[in-house]
């Protein structure tokens, strides 16, 4: 396998103590389509822009908001293909929990496990000296011939991943369980926070300002849906003003 050539972490600390690959991943998220979530008194709403590249695309075949369990849903901003991996992984984790405990997984637990997957991809590989890097690139063409294709789906193994990049998505997980309605945002670094309302992707600062003004703790779900749509429209309008 070509993996041993990448047995060092692609996400390493810079001299200033930053993990730049994660920062770049966040930049990728920031240029994705806007999505947002609002926690109401009796429910949670998540919404997203669904701008398709052409009118020829069959819009029924695209579903950005996905169900993880009957009472937990998720939306993303950033790279669609990366989000599919996380959705698939989360669904499986939820099901495994149910098999073990005969209960639906609480929102916090599912969020924690999903975040753990995202964190794994930022800490891939064992340490190897920097010099190995150059050797690797030079060997790349030679090793390519010997590299076998590896099947997807091995992420449940405990061994560390080798030569991977962080996920280019932030997720908004909305759920309702015994602790009431909950909304969590998970970032490419694997850190997650609970939010009353949050936005991600393009226009995030305008969206958040708008949400801050409009949010009240005792909002009803219908109000929250209305506010969510208004916020997305606001982002649209703002963009139009910028150009004209």
């Amino acid at each position: 396998m070509g993996d041993s050539q990448y047995s060092f972490s692609l996400t390493t600390f810079s001299p200033s103590g930053k993990l730049v690959q994660i920062e770049h991943a966040l930049t990728a998220v920031g240029s994705g389509q806007t999505s947002l979530g609002i926690k109401a008194a009796n429910g949670v709403v998540i919404a997203t822009e669904k701008k398709l590249p052409s009118i020829l695309v069959d819009e029924a075949s695209v579903q950005k908001i996905q169900v993880l369990t009957p009472n937990i849903g998720v939306v993303y901003s950033g790279m669609g293909p990366d989000s599919r991996v996380l959705v698939r992984k989360s669904r499986k984790q939820a099901e495994q929990y149910h098999r073990l405990y005969k209960e639906s997984i609480p929102v916090t637990q599912l969020v924690r496990e999903t975040a753990a997957v995202m964190q794994e991809f930022t800490q891939s590989g064992a340490g190897r000296p920097m010099l190995g890097w150059l050797q690797t690139i030079l060997d790349f063409n030679v090793k390519l011939k010997k590299t076998k294709l590896r099947a997807l789906g091995n992420m449940s193994h405990k061994k560390t991943l080798l030569g991977v990049r962080p996920f280019g998505v932030s997720l908004l997980v909305a759920g309702f369980d015994d602790n009431g309605p909950q909304l969590y945002q998970v970032d490419p670094s694997g850190s997650y926070f609970s939010w009353k309302a949050s936005a991600m992707g393009k226009n995030v600062s305008n969206a958040k300002t708008f949400l801050e003004k409009r949010y009240t703790d005792d909002m009803e779900l219908d109000d929250a849906v209305h506010t969510a749509i208004l916020t997305l429209k606001e982002g649209y309008m703002h963009l139009k003003l910028l150009f004209f």
Binding site: M1, G2, D3, Q5, Y6, L10, T12, S14, P15, V20, Q21, H24, A25, L26, T27, A28, V29, G30, S31, L52, P53, S54, I55, L56, V57, D58, A60, S61, V62, M79, G80, P81, D82, R84, V85, R88, F121, M130, W133, I137, F140, L144, T147, L149, R150, L152, L161, L162, G163, V164, R165, P166, F167, G168
Partner: protein
């Protein structure tokens, strides 16, 4: 040594650039265009048709061995635009996967499931450094039991969408502009209209009239759901119909 910008390796393997881009994925898209071929797919009311150029660079080549249209199962077809070697790998794996699906679950792999599988595989290559993304855009066609004729397109980034009509390759954007005009009012094309729209789109965008052996055409129809590559005689009939119409 600062690894601030990935040390310049963000162009060599699929790690993020400072702007949050994946250069290797973007270069893979360029590789698809570099093949010099354009392909078109159109979905009609009860059929799907895909068309691609058949450029045989050398007269000594056996024409029948030059193809970009591959049956994956009896009912699913795949049109690969881009690097032919990568295409063959993809086709081989897809055929294996579809056969295993049939064995495991007892029914034929649906179009969108295959498209999703191909897209998910492509996504792995964009996230793991040890494999480069494939330089292929795949169009999958088939008749779905529940949803009728379907056309999907999968790209090196791991995106996949269902399409009413689409294009890939060198003149992709021009073809999409042409098709957007044609499909604007959601027309429900019959089988003949579907095939002729696809072929005439290709002719218009490449600004040349084809001879029957210069293009490859693959179809699936609700009343005969097996994936079929049209013979040169059938292509000729359609070409004649198009030129008579104009």
């Amino acid at each position: 040594m600062s690894r601030g910008s990935g040390g310049g390796y963000d162009r060599h393997i699929t790690i993020f650039s400072p702007e949050g881009r994946l250069f290797q994925v973007e270069y893979a898209f360029k590789a698809v265009k570099a093949s010099g071929i354009t392909s078109i797919g159109v979905r009609g009311k009860d059929s799907v048709c895909v068309v691609t150029q058949k450029k045989v660079p050398d007269k000594l080549l056996d024409q029948t061995s030059v193809t970009h249209l591959f049956p994956i199962t009896k009912f699913l077809g795949l049109l690969a635009t881009g690097m032919t070697a990568d295409a063959r790998t993809l086709v081989q794996q897809a055929r294996n996967e579809a056969a295993e699906f049939r064995f495991r679950y007892g029914y034929e792999m649906p179009v969108d499931v295959l498209a999703r599988w191909i897209a998910d595989k492509s996504q792995v290559y964009t996230q793991h450094a040890y494999m480069r993304p494939l330089g292929v855009v795949a169009m999958i066609l088939g008749i779905d039991d529940e949803n009728g004729p379907r056309l999907f397109k999968c790209d090196p980034a791991g995106h996949f969408f269902g399409h009413k009509a689409t294009s890939a390759g060198l003149k992709e954007q021009e073809a999409i502009n042409f098709l957007e005009k044609k499909m604007k009012n959601d027309p429900a094309f019959s089988y003949d209209e579907t095939v002729q729209t696809a072929i005439s789109a290709l002719q218009s965008v490449l600004q040349e009239d084809f001879k029957p052996n210069e293009i490859e055409v693959g179809v699936v129809r609700t009343d005969s759901p097996a994936f079929r590559v049209l013979s040169t005689e059938e292509i000729d009939e359609h070409l004649t119909a198009i030129s008579e119409r104009d």
